[in-house]
Symmetry: C2
DNA sequence: ATAACATATTGACTTTTTTCGATGTGACAG
DNA sequence: CTGTCACATCGAAAAAAGTCAATATGTTAT
C-alpha cells in the first residue's frame, strides 16, 4: 500500500476534523497526560479513546510515550510545525491575477 | 442551528482532507480559475465539482467570484491565514513538563 | 419570450469514518 | 505462574461523507 502525497496530507488534517479529537488536543495543551486520565476527562469508553489516539499519533501531531503499562500522550511541537508548513504549502498561491483560463475577467 | 467552535474548526480542516479538494487547491495555486476549467482539468462531473467547491468556500480557504453565468474561484489569502492561526491555536502548548495527572513520570 | 449555457441542488446510492462491547496482548505485583 | 491492570485490536452496527445523473435556477443572446 503506497500512500500518495494526498493521503499523507489528509492524515494530518483528518486528525483535526473530529470534535472529540479537538477536545483531546485541548486537554493536552495543558501538558502531557496518560490515557487513563484522558478517558476520565473525556468521559468516553477506553476503546474509543484508543481509536482516536491512534489517529492523532499517526498524524504526527501527538506523540505517545510508553512507560510500563501506561502511555503518556503529548502534543508534538515538531508534528505541529510540520502541519503548519503543510497547510501553508497547500494554500500558497504562486501566481496572482484574474482568470485567464476560458472566459473574460 | 448553532455551530460549536469545534464545528467551525472542523469545517476548515475537513476541506483539506479530501484528495479531490487537495487537487483543486493545487490547480488554484496557479491563480483564479472558473468552474468550467476546473471540471475539465479535474475530469469530474459538474455536480461533483460543485459539491467540493461549496465545501472549500464554506471553509473560507477559497472564495468564489460570480461573473454573470460564470463563477471564478481562487484561494483566499485571508482564509488561508485564518486556517494557519487556527491550527497554531489548536496545537499550542501552554505548559510543558511531564504527566502530573495520575501516575509517575 | 425562448433557447442555450453555467452552476447549484436534489436524491438515491456507495464508501468511509466513528462508535463501543468483546477479546487479545503485554506489563507488573504477589 | 497467576491475577490484575492499561491499552490495543476486532467486529458489527450506526453515522457521516462522497458520487453522480437528473433536475432546478439564474444568466445571456437572439
Amino acid at each position: 500500500m503506497v500512500a500518495t502525497v494526498y493521503e499523507e496530507r489528509a492524515r494530518v488534517f483528518k486528525a483535526l476534523c473530529d470534535e472529540r479529537r479537538q477536545k483531546i488536543l485541548e486537554l493536552l495543551q495543558g501538558g502531557e497526560k496518560c490515557a487513563c486520565v484522558l478517558i476520565e476527562e473525556m468521559g468516553m469508553p477506553q476503546s474509543s479513546l484508543s481509536y482516536h489516539m491512534k489517529i492523532l499519533c499517526d498524524s504526527g501531531i501527538v506523540t505517545g510515550r510508553e512507560d510500563g503499562k501506561w502511555t503518556h500522550y503529548q502534543i508534538s511541537r515538531q508534528g505541529s510545525e510540520k502541519a503548519v508548513s503543510l497547510l501553508k504549502e497547500i494554500t500558497a498561491v504562486t501566481e496572482t491575477g484574474g482568470c485567464r483560463s476560458c472566459c473574460g475577467t
